[in-house]
Subunit: 344 residues, 2 copies
DNA sequence: CTGAAAGCGCTTACAG
DNA sequence: CTGAAAGCGCTTACAG
């Protein structure tokens, strides 16, 4: 329509086009966008009308080039297929959206090089700050980014003197799980999970050990798996069922729900009944876990709350003085009792 | 360290700092970054060393301001909590990453205004193109963005003459589900799902109807639910169990796995056995569905493939001439038979 | 192959 | 409250 010459490339309208169309200066257009209150209503309406008529869309790149930073936040997530992290992302988004920030997500998919690549990308885009749910292991890119001045808050990671972090008290979770089974009468517990170099797994085991140590007469065995999957769970089930009946544990703590689900499935096909013969508790409160036929008791991590808290911390950091002191927060997980640990 | 005056704000190094440090001109630094081949190795190494020494990070905003577009793609996803969409995102990411693009995600969380806000945000950032897994309903922002020249490919949406789209043949999926139950001997089928104004649900029902129509003697009842959740599934189970035994269906097609899981759970507690008394098939192949005690047969949507295909289409569009013709692709879902439809 | 200059589209003092 | 000018940090012809 507005093309006078069909041969000439249509170009997206820019602010000077709007100014010309509305008969005002460039600065006034900018003011309408950024400080509408200081522009006279009549002029403001004229500019707004021109913006609509031309289909003008402000170029954020140019805007944050001069302002220094975008009011956008980045969140690099280790594994979106795990609903725990989706919960975190939703909590963070709600918190930041209410405060005028946008939250962009990137999935590193448990790949260290992709994690670094996305952290770098967000830095190149000059986001105001980042959330990072990291893999276990070094976080080179994030360290560098922080040194250069972009705040980073780590979630599901403990944090230390140099870094803000929000984590869940994994040890306490393991303790809750074990105590729950002990309360329900189990005495020969088996902890299944792994690999143990995952700090979450190691701490859950620690917690379970501590709980068992306080119960004279109770014992805890350990079975290390190579992953936290349903398939690994099948092996756990097999391992238990293969033993003579009286040597079997009467309580199973699985370090992940998927593991618990696999174990229950295999146990059942081998004739071991859950919860009648064996109490089982999982970990994570993954979506759909409540839906298996024997609904699985579990330790629930406060993902949504973690996301909100991390976002709040990040916004604080963004506004903080350079000298600001880093803080770590440990959230408490909670027990959700379902059918798999019901007695009678 | 490099701060000569502690009072002066440390500023992130920019390209002119690198040029000065390396003793070359600004253009040469840019060439090292963008056309390394045309710079003499010695000079190149000098520049690279300076970049490392200063901790220089190129400012993408400035870069794509002059280049017009970032080589970044945006994906606005309707619901990351549904693993189907996570699969799509992973497929898209693998495809685009291999071709040098980055993929940023935004979760609209089944909220139309957030969908629009993120579409706008990506446009303001001048992404090279967008993927959109939309909610059912109008897509105002996306339409406008396309008119202004940013390519958008819709996923899990049929597409039309004006829009590229990649969808799954929902009708065919419904047909597969019904045929599977009929093959296994069921004759009184119940289709549960809803609300029916969700086009996916309506089409799945259509397909099921078509399959039943071809089997003389088979009948199909319909039970509309208000959502596709486990809780709604409980109601479905209740509805079935409440009927006199001989008036119950012998096959249940649930329009979603969560629905199937809820139904099975309630049926079981009411003494209706799956699959012995009633065959059940779900839809979506959601993560963890395979793990319920009675593993649930389902219709699997090719999420990963859909993501790859959508990404491929988007990259085509980005390179296409303005006059390019839009295409729609319909992917075929497939049957996954599990325990919940096993006979004998 | 290298370097000086113009320009991408905005925002922000600054003088009126 | 408004408008002309400078500048954010890059890339890209262009002349050497």
């Amino acid at each position: 329509m507005s093309q006078s010459n069909p041969a000439e490339q249509r170009r997206n309208p820019v602010m000077t086009d709007v100014a010309k169309h509305a008969g005002v200066s460039l600065g006034t257009v900018s003011n309408v966008l950024n400080n509408p209150d200081i522009v006279t209503p009549a002029k403001r309406d004229r500019v707004l009308a021109s913006i609509a008529a031309l289909g003008f869309v402000r170029n954020q790149q140019a805007r944050s080039l001069v302002r220094g930073r975008a009011n956008t936040l980045g969140f690099v997530v280790v594994d979106l297929a795990n609903s725990f992290f989706v919960d975190i992302a939703r909590g963070a988004e709600e918190y930041t959206a209410a405060r005028g920030f946008k939250l962009l997500l990137a999935n590193s998919d448990v790949d260290a090089s992709r994690q670094d690549a996305y952290v770098d990308l967000f830095e190149e885009f000059r986001v105001a700050g980042m959330l990072l749910a990291p893999l276990d292991g070094p976080m080179g890119a994030a360290e560098r980014v922080e040194e250069r001045g972009t705040p980073v808050v780590r979630v599901n990671w403990p944090g230390d003197d140099e870094h803000c972090g929000i984590a869940v008290d994994e040890r306490h979770g393991g303790q809750l799980a074990a105590e729950h089974l002990l309360e329900r009468g189990a005495r020969r517990l088996l902890f299944a999970g792994g690999p143990f170099d995952l700090h979450a797994v190691a701490h859950r085991l620690d917690g379970a050990r501590a709980a068992v140590a306080e119960h004279p007469g109770a014992v805890l065995e350990v079975f290390e798996t190579d992953r936290l999957t349903v398939v690994a769970g099948l092996q756990v089930g097999e391992h238990i069922a293969a033993r003579p009946e009286r040597e079997r544990p009467d309580g199973l703590i699985a370090a992940a729900d998927a593991l618990a689900a696999g174990a229950i499935q295999r146990l059942r096909s081998e004739g071991v009944r859950v919860p009648d013969d064996l109490l089982v508790i999982g970990y994570d409160n993954n979506h759909l876990t409540a839906e298996s036929l024997v609904s699985i008791s579990t330790i629930s991590q406060p993902g949504h709350e973690m996301g909100e808290l991390a976002a709040a911390r990040l916004l604080e950091e963004i506004e903080a003085e350079p000298g600001h002191r880093h803080r770590s927060t440990l959230l408490r997980p909670s027990l959700i009792a379902r059918r798999s640990t019901e007695r009678g």
